[in-house]
């Protein structure tokens, strides 16, 4: 029942905040958002890992209620968590609270609607990570898009209309492709419910028959491709990444935090849950093209970041690059690779959240994000800049920070992968990306933060207010904590990942 | 066989008027004159075109009410013919009730139309104006 309570409370909180006067909306929303944080931590404290939810392992906090039967297949309210989803649930609640605090400064109008939508989005994100029925999951998945569309479209920058529509069209078309592909699979399977465990196990037992004259293997391949395309847009990977920089640049800081921190993880989470758990044979068949996409995302994303002059675009493109690592870890299909990729989802959520907040704080003070417009900010806002530098080092994979653990396991796993041909070459190429990351981050920091103080816009830069710096500090602490003690998540992740790898190789 | 008689009747029926028109066309003198092609041979000069001639909307109102009760008569008539037999078979309630309901509905409609001025002959402002203008002249 705790999952229902968590989701229901968050929805109710969203409705309540809609009705709160603008002046108090931010504080009320923050207060209410602490309840899901506590709830998710409570779930964490009760959680005992026991395998993967989809492959027949234990499902914690499970509830199954039949909902409606359509065309012979039962749709259910089926929720539960395992070692893969719980870390993401904690990440979601945690990051939403911090994002709400970071919105206090930049959001100046229609606050109650803004914070209401943030909480509405949080409720649906929790649903995405906890739903174990395909239909239910899809409803939450799509419901995340609606608040995001408004958050970018109403509170965004000058080109917000274009960015919001682009985001909406890209992700909706992708969802449709994914939905149709998966439906073809389900209709061919003759399952009784849309429960993901049932579908996974039916696929593993070769229950797939021909459907409208399409042979099972072809059907699986079509479904894999449709799902991959659908999720790749969300992740995003090159070449379907173009919506991301636009969305990030136009979105206000807290929305960027949510977008990079949690929404992108929906894509990788779904890839792991659907493509790699349900259709490993097809993943093996397409391992090389997927690895190429991953490596191209890493290198090309980093190169694009290197070429940007807008701080936010730099961080946005670097997200494309980081998501490439996650895909590489997944396709390596080893315990370290997939486990590291899952851990990296959480780590990158925290780190990219911190980076976007830092850029936001700089923007709040200077009203510009162009690198060449400023220098020497370190003198004027030492605390914020200090945290920013720490965050950047986390991004570069400094040991004892969360980013290091994720990347280390991904590379360790992918280097020795037997699932992926030419694994060492792909790994080596991807590692080259780290060098470029270090390059652009250090370059941008050197130009903006150090040297003589100079600012092209007419604003007086002073130390950032406490409620801007506090969430950054909390995030930094979390990043360091996860870096020092990665096993708090890694143990349950490895435990949940192991059953997927029945036909994987190495480590 | 019986169709032959009908056919013959049809032939005669069409033949007589055609024959009369043909005979008159052959016998009559032909004197074309402008007055003969006028709409009213009585000397009245038509004004305007045939299409611009409009009836007052209230003619339609009355006509509509008339049609409603015309149709009602059509229904009431056969009902009245079999009424006494029907009462014996199904009883007075089921013989009389539906017709009372039917007439009741029509009555409500009539009363409503009456109260809302469907049958009172009000004059349109334009007609009144025209009349006064003519009176002035």
């Amino acid at each position: 029942m705790i999952i229902e309570a968590l989701i229901a409370f968050t929805f109710a909180a969203a409705l309540l905040v809609f009705a709160v006067p603008n002046k108090y909306a931010g504080k009320v929303a923050f207060g209410l958002s602490l309840v899901p944080v506590i709830g998710s931590l409570y779930m964490w404290s009760l959680f005992e890992s026991g395998g993967n939810a989809l492959t027949g392992g234990d499902i914690a906090f499970e509830t199954i209620i039949p909902w409606v039967e359509i065309a012979g297949i039962q749709v259910q309210w089926f929720v539960g968590v395992d070692g893969i989803s719980l870390p993401l649930v904690v990440l979601t609640t945690f990051l939403t609270s911090l994002a709400i605090v970071s919105a206090w400064t930049p959001i100046k109008e229609r606050q109650s609607q803004f914070y209401g939508l943030m909480l509405f989005m949080e409720a649906n994100l929790l649903g995405v990570f906890m739903a174990l029925d395909f239909f239910l999951w899809f409803i939450f998945w799509e419901a995340v898009l609606v608040p995001m569309y408004f958050l970018i479209g109403v509170w965004g920058g000058p080109r917000r209309k274009y960015a919001a529509i682009k985001f909406f069209v890209y992700t909706n078309v992708a969802s449709l492709v994914m939905f149709i592909g998966f439906m073809a699979l389900v209709f061919g399977l003759n399952v009784e419910t849309f429960g993901l465990p049932e579908i996974t196990q039916a696929l593993a037992n070769d229950q797939l028959g021909t459907w409208f004259g399409i042979a099972p293997d072809t059907l699986k391949l079509i479904a894999f491709l449709a799902l991959f395309v659908g999720f790749a847009v969300k992740v995003p990977v090159v070449p379907v990444h173009t919506w991301l920089p636009d969305a990030h640049v136009e979105a206000p800081t807290p929305v960027s935090v949510m977008l990079a921190g949690v929404l992108l993880k929906m894509g990788t989470y779904a890839l792991l849950r659907f493509n790699f758990t349900m259709l490993p044979e097809q993943a093996s068949l397409l391992a090389v093209p997927i690895a190429i996409i991953a490596v191209v995302s890493v290198i090309y994303g980093a190169m694009l970041a290197l070429a940007q002059t807008d701080l936010k675009r730099i961080v946005a493109y670097s997200s494309v690059s980081s998501m490439g690592y996650v895909i590489l870890g997944l396709i390596a299909f080893t315990e370290f690779g997939v486990g590291g990729a899952t851990f990296q989802m959480v780590a990158h959520g925290l780190i990219s959240g911190l980076m976007f907040m830092s850029v936001g704080v700089i923007y709040n003070a200077t009203h510009t994000r162009i690198v060449s417009d400023m220098s020497g900010l370190a003198d004027r806002m030492p605390v914020a800049v200090g945290i920013l530098i720490a965050g950047a080092f986390a991004y570069m994979g400094l040991p004892l920070m969360a980013g290091f653990a994720g990347e280390f396991f991904i590379f360790a796993g992918s280097f020795g992968s037997t699932f992926l041909p030419y694994a060492p070459i792909f790994t080596a190429l991807a590692m080259f990306g780290i060098v470029i990351v270090a390059g652009y981050l250090l370059l941008a920091m050197q130009k903006t933060l150090f040297g003589e103080y100079r600012l092209e816009t007419d604003y007086e830069v002073t130390a950032a207010p406490l409620h801007d710096v506090a969430p950054m500090a909390v995030l930094l602490l979390a990043i360091i904590a996860l870096g020092v003690a990665p096993w708090v998540f890694l143990d349950m992740i490895f435990d949940a990942v192991a059953p997927i790898l029945a036909n994987g190789g190495g480590l | 066989m019986s169709w032959i008689a009908i056919g013959a009747l049809a032939v005669v029926g069409v033949g007589i008027p055609l024959g009369m028109m043909a005979a008159s066309a052959l016998l009559r003198p032909s004197v074309p004159e402008q007055g003969k092609s006028a709409t009213y041979e009585s000397g009245e000069i038509p004004t305007g075109t045939a299409r611009s001639f409009k009836f007052n909307i209230q003619y339609y109102m009355v006509a509509l009410l008339f049609v409603v009760f015309d149709i009602e008569t059509v229904l009431v008539f056969p009902w009245a013919v079999i009424y006494s037999d029907a009462v014996e078979v199904v009883g007075i309630t089921r013989a009389l009730g539906p017709m009372l309901l039917f007439i009741g509905i029509l009555l409500i409609g009539l009363v409503w139309a009456w109260r809302n001025g469907a049958v009172s002959w009000t004059k349109s402002p334009r007609a009144t104006r025209r009349k006064t203008e003519r009176g002035d002249a």
Binding site: I70, A71, K161 | -
Partner: protein, 514 residues
Amino acid sequence: MDPTVVTTAALQSQLPEWTALGPVIVLGLTGLLLLTIDAIWPKRNANTTYAIVSAAGAIIALGITVWYLVAGTGQETHGGAITLFSEAIVVDGMALFFTAIFTSVAALVIVASHDYLKGHENSAEFYSLLMFATTGMALMAVSNSLVTVFVSLEMASLPSYALVGFLKKDRGSVEASLKYFLIGALSSAVFLFGISLIYAVTGSLLLTEISAQFADGGVAGFAGVAGIGVLMIAGGFAYKTASVPFHFWAPEAYEGAPAPVSAFLSSASKAAGFVVAFRVFAEAFMPLLEVTPAIDWALAFAVLAVLTMVVGNFAAATQENVKRMLAYSSIGHAGYALIGLAALTAGGPHNGDVMGAAMAHLLIYGFMNTGAFLFIAMVEYWGVGRTFEDYAGLSQKAPLACVAMAVFMFSLAGLPVFGGFFSKYALFASAVSAGFWWLAAVGAVTSALSLYYYSRVVKAIWIEEPNGNLDVIESKPTGLYAAIIFAAVATVLLLPGFPIALETAEAAASALFA
């Protein structure tokens, strides 16, 4: 009276059988009551009184309908359909389901019209015409003979013509009314001719007897006549449901009519066309598919469905006027519901599912489409313009109504957040399992397209900045607001509550094929 009717139904054992027609009677009496009130105090023009009376009538009728539905009147579980008047009338699950749609749409429209008609003369006529049209629709739902079908169809249509032209000083409204009337008269004639041909072939007007005649194969020699008759009747329904290529009246009528009337016509009147089409084809013409494969009316409906989905959605995508866009979108939705007829097969095991899904879609569509048109009515009430540009920034003045409008738009587009998604999915999935995957594919592609034009409205009201167009907004019409919010809540609640709608509809539809 049919002696085979088993009177074990919970209600019939307590109430006389004619009470099964309760909703129809209540609706008709409400209309007459309105006329009586107006006849007693003709000059009073008591808009509020009329609105309360007619809303009460519609809600009582709705209440009775829902009560019957829950109690099982006329349904499989309680002795099957109740037939009255020598089988000319049948009350079953399908009739009650659709009556529920008509009465709820009517209630919403009445509540909303109260504000819309403020200061308007002749409001009594408006409400009574609305009630009489609803009565006609409720009669259409229970028609079991081609005669009652035709009479009730006319009874629903004639008040509709007058309602469309209700703004008699507005040229658009009058022109729309005339077009609607002329095409309606034409299609009635065609429809009537079709009925006469079917009568000529089968010698009966009762749907059950026609069905028996066709099943016996005794009409094999007249297959041509029967085929033309079926085609003409199908044409008549296509007109009533605004399906391509008989849709030309719809954009004009919906755009010209007062917006509450557009809401009423595009939701209730369309559903009424579907209930008769469902009953006539599933009941009377079903054996034709089996016995006379040459008369493949399901294929005809499949062609109509594809054309309607494609033309409706593409035409909607090119509109600049929001009301006209909604008019075309409602044509597109007729195409989705037509799948309920197109995907039927002789003795197919999925027939009940397919038609049930179409019925569920019409129910949800009833709420979301009515709500959307009522939002337009509110904008008309304020005097804001009609194009997308005029709608810019409305959310800053009326956030709550704009939330509702976003719900309607996303639900109509079939975004999986609201009721519209489930009903569309049920429709497509059952079509796929019946073997008509290409109908589902066309449906899915056109729904994806529809997201484009529906989201334009959302973009206009939420994301665009107001351009000085909103200064005319002075008041917040309570009735309109209430109706819109209620429709939005219903649209949202029909997502979790969808099983109730779908299961009722499937049971009702399956009874037809039993």
